[in-house]
């Protein structure tokens, strides 16, 4: 075991996969000589050469489409969007081509698109978004949102191994802020299994990504008042661990769904609806939902603070659940 930051765990996963499988290669803007905008692939070009760490033109469509074509020919491309926000430029390649090719043609598209996402540092409307819900709505895409260094490494290995297009949302605000023990050897974290990030029986908080840490801070705060909330980290949205969420709701009878993405049509709505459909009679309080408001991500610090769910917001919601 070694202590790693979240971003080191991502680099480590890529390096391990590229060393063990010559079919794995990286492509994206500035990923080679520069090592990527966040330095995830720093030093990779020296180790693996310029044809496995490919600096592309500013062409998100050609990056994702190119990855798709290379995957059809048997390679295992890992494409980097410099920021998750720029995936909108490649929407068609993901949604129209990659997501539907196996369904239509019977040919799997084993690609991973790495998406540095999320806010918290005044990145403004185009460098802070969490567009995971948009893609969770598209049949044929898998959506992965690690919250810890351990899961970042294991889920990235699993993403590369997966025979489908995988969107790997790595939260930029966790990159250098979160550290944890990470096994040095290769391992995979399977998709579709939630992780209990913090145990508790009084309420279950269903969340993912950076909000796992926000939720944990809030739950720790409430624990001082004797209210123990469970923090359930979904880890992957497609597939999502419905069974574990429903088990948590049945056990705790109170639930808070929390995400950094905007509210309307966010994945939290899907979770809340499923809870209402399947375990309504187990609820002792209405489902609570905390999400960003339906606005673009704002730039100025007080506005951004109002946009991203804060520990205090979660504390308040948990108190309301406790008192219900």
């Amino acid at each position: 075991m070694a202590e790693m930051t979240y971003i080191q765990a991502i680099s480590d996963a890529l390096r391990v996969e590229m060393r063990r499988d010559p079919r794995v290669f990286l492509l994206g803007e500035d990923v080679g000589v520069y090592g990527g905008a966040f330095k995830v692939s720093l030093g990779f070009q020296e180790e693996f050469g310029p044809w496995r760490v490919i600096d592309t033109p500013l062409s998100e469509t050609a990056i994702v489409g190119g990855a798709t074509g290379a995957a059809l020919m048997g390679l295992r491309p890992v494409a980097e969007m410099q920021f998750a926000d720029f995936i909108s430029c490649a929407w068609d390649q993901l949604v129209t081509v990659a997501a539907k090719q196996f369904f239509r043609g019977g040919t799997p598209i084993p690609i991973v698109v790495r998406l540095p996402s999320g806010g918290g540092f005044s990145g403004g409307p185009f460098h802070s978004q969490n567009p995971e819900s948009s893609f969770a709505h598209i049949p044929g895409l898998k959506v992965v949102c690690p919250a810890t260094p351990h899961d970042a490494k294991g889920l990235l290995a699993a993403s590369i191994e997966d025979p489908n297009p995988v969107l790997f949302f790595e939260h930029k605000h966790l990159y250098r802020r979160i550290k944890g023990e990470v096994p040095e050897d290769r391992y995979t974290v399977p998709f579709g299994y939630a992780n209990v990030h913090r145990p508790g029986d009084d309420a279950t908080i269903v969340t993912w990504g950076a909000m796992v840490h926000t939720a944990t801070e809030a739950a720790d705060e409430l624990a001082k008042e004797g209210f123990e909330a469970e923090v359930l980290d979904l880890r992957t949205l497609i597939p999502w661990d419905k069974d574990r969420v429903l088990e948590g709701v049945q056990r705790c009878s109170k639930v808070l769904v929390l995400h950094e993405d905007t509210r309307t049509g966010g994945f939290g709505a899907e979770i809340a609806a499923t809870i209402a459909e399947e375990v309504f009679e187990h609820l002792d309080a209405p489902v609570k939902r905390i999400a960003a408001p339906d606005t673009p991500v704002p730039f100025s610090p007080p506005l951004e603070k109002a946009f991203i769910p804060q520990v205090d917001d979660v504390v308040k919601a948990l108190r309301e659940l406790a008192e219900y």
Partner: protein, 347 residues
């Protein structure tokens, strides 16, 4: 780098130099006849209500498609479009599977998941198009990128139309291919009409192939009704790409001889234009050439047309025996499993 206009192919000697023997020449004729035959029969089936959805043909483009298909090597790959039935036929797709595809049957290449010409058989090196044109061009570039990374002596062919040339995917795909000098050939089926939009409203230059210069590779315009000229240019471009010479943009000039789809009577296309291009129908033109230069006899021709008729009759019969897909299988086909990976088309 000015665009080059390809010469027509005149003599049998030229054809031999381009790598075709007499057997190949007859195979081309057969593939042209099957291509048109499938689309004519499909049209009838559609009118009989046996084909759901819509129906598209590539009438007028058969020569361009068959010529390209003939020029591809056995391990080459491509992403043909809805006017390129001839590519599928030339690569060896069994005709019954195409009828099954039209009718939404299990036996079609997409097993009823998609319809009409949205199909391809991956084992034959072809990958299925999407409606969003030219979204398959970046995919073709990616296939070529894989070949370059691995050092395979293989070539990818990506098709688009002159209408789709207006979209950004075409630019990104060709630019990246040019930057990396990838083994890919871009083929523009320029049939002069993007649905009802004429060329002068699609692009402001003389030839789409002129754009190749902007991406650092050669562009060539070829008469798409001359199957042999298309073959020669395609062969040249494909072998150049195979030898590390980078991409080529081939523009095949034709006229779309029917509407965008069968519901469209193409009233907006001037009658004289249809008349002019009907006089250079690719199949009739090739037939005439075969008589003049390759010693085609009437006996040979009637034998060939009878064989094609048999193939189509059998294909229709077999397609009709193919079952409709079970609705219970629908959700199981969204995600691939590990065992779906590394099938022969991947290697």
């Amino acid at each position: 780098m000015a665009v080059r206009e390809a010469e027509p192919v005149g003599s049998l000697q030229e054809v031999k130099e381009a790598g075709l023997d007499r057997e190949d020449l007859l195979a081309i004729y057969r593939n042209l006849l099957i291509t048109r035959g499938i689309e004519e029969r499909g049209h009838i089936l559609y009118k009989q209500g046996k084909i759901p959805g819509s129906f598209y043909t590539g009438r007028g483009n058969e020569g361009a498609a068959v010529g390209l298909g003939m020029a591809m090597g056995p391990n080459d790959v491509g992403t043909p479009l809805h006017r390129d039935m001839g590519v599928h036929i030339t690569r060896g797709v069994e005709p019954w599977r195409i009828f099954a595809q039209y009718m939404g049957r299990e036996g079609g290449p997409t097993r009823g998941r998609d319809g009409n010409v949205h199909m391809a058989v991956a084992e034959l090196g072809l990958h299925t198009m999407v409606s969003h044109l030219p979204a398959m061009l970046p995919v073709a570039t990616g296939m070529a990128l894989a070949f370059k990374i691995r050092g395979d002596r293989r070539v990818a062919v990506g098709w688009f139309g002159e209408g789709a040339a207006a979209r950004g995917d075409a630019h990104e795909a060709m630019n990246m291919a040019g930057v990396r000098q990838l083994p890919v050939v871009f083929v523009c089926d320029n049939n002069q009409w993007a649905y009802s939009t004429p060329t002068y409203l699609s692009y402001p230059i003389e030839h789409i192939a002129d754009r190749a210069a902007a991406y650092g590779f050669e562009g060539v315009v070829v008469d798409g009704t001359d199957v042999l000229a298309v073959y020669r240019e395609a062969r040249r471009a494909i072998e150049k790409a195979r030898d590390g010479g980078g991409p080529t943009l081939i523009e095949c000039l034709t006229l779309r001889m029917e509407g965008h789809a069968v519901h469209d009577d193409a009233f907006y296309v001037p009658k004289e234009m249809f008349e002019q291009w009907a006089a250079q129908d690719p199949i009739e033109r090739y037939r005439t050439w075969l008589y003049a230069h390759a010693g085609l006899t009437e006996d040979e021709e009637s034998e060939l047309t009878a064989a094609v008729k048999r193939i189509l009759n059998d294909a229709l019969e077999r397609a009709d025996e193919s079952p409709l897909p079970e609705s219970a299988t629908l959700e199981a086909s969204v995600f691939a499993s590990p065992e779906d990976l590394d099938t022969p088309h991947h290697k």
